[in-house]
């Protein structure tokens, strides 16, 4: 039960608290997505990690003669292009550009490399696919 006397004592405090929160609470509501450049950065980080794994696998396959020099060179060229794209996108997300400018530049960078490579080794194929997925996710954000 409410004690009327005690309630009157605390009422001003509660009202001030409510007004303060009503006026000052600008925090986003739960479930608000993170800033898009942060999401892009995380996908870039995943893509770069996938590229590193793919490079290790490709080198191991080449050294064990499971892929020839021509195939290795094609994969190397692709991975280096992807790495450069990830660096360019990461540099853009860390820049002082507005998101409107940033997204245009990122879309242009990503579109140049978001194509898959086909190899016979399933492990390497999965790692190459992960790079493409990261790039597609980036393009999905922008």
């Amino acid at each position: 039960m409410v004690n009327a006397k005690e309630f009157r004592k605390w009422l001003p405090v509660m009202l001030v608290l409510a007004l303060l929160l009503a006026g000052c609470a600008t925090a986003p509501t739960p479930g608000v997505p993170e800033a898009p450049q942060v999401t892009v950065s995380r996908y870039v980080q995943l893509g770069a990690a996938s590229s590193a794994l793919a490079a290790d696998t490709a080198i191991a396959l080449y050294n064990s003669k499971q892929i020839d020099a021509n195939t290795f060179n094609q994969i190397r060229t692709y991975l280096k292009l992807a790495d450069q794209a990830f660096r360019d996108i990461a540099t853009e997300t860390a820049s002082a550009d507005t998101w409107a400018v940033m997204r245009t530049k990122i879309a242009a960078i990503g579109a140049k490399i978001a194509v898959s490579q086909t190899v016979t080794d399933p492990t390497l194929q999965a790692q190459l696919n992960a790079i493409v997925t990261a790039l597609q996710n980036i393009l999905g954000v922008v």
Partner: protein, 79 residues
């Protein structure tokens, strides 16, 4: 009106109906409500992106160096 403010007023109305002894619980509930709404400032977003960018630079440069170290003009090693 923000979600935090409307929920706070709802909690106060609930307090009135349940008893004034619940004030500490109300304050705790409001505190939890505000803490459940994290937000990043523009400066924090830039700082986080710069940190990730640095990691991407390090990772990709190391990857490229490993790839460049393979000499396909020579027969593949068995190491």
């Amino acid at each position: 009106m923000s979600t935090v403010a409307s929920t706070t007023i709802g909690l106060i109305l609930q307090l009135v109906s349940t008893g004034i002894s619940e004030v500490p619980a109300l304050i705790s509930a409001i505190k939890g409500l505000v803490q459940a709404n994290p937000s990043m400032t523009a400066e924090q977003i830039v700082a986080l992106c710069q940190t990730i960018c640095q990691d991407v630079m390090t990772t990709t440069q190391a990857t490229d160096a490993k790839l460049d170290a393979v000499d396909t003009a020579q027969p593949a090693s068995y190491g």
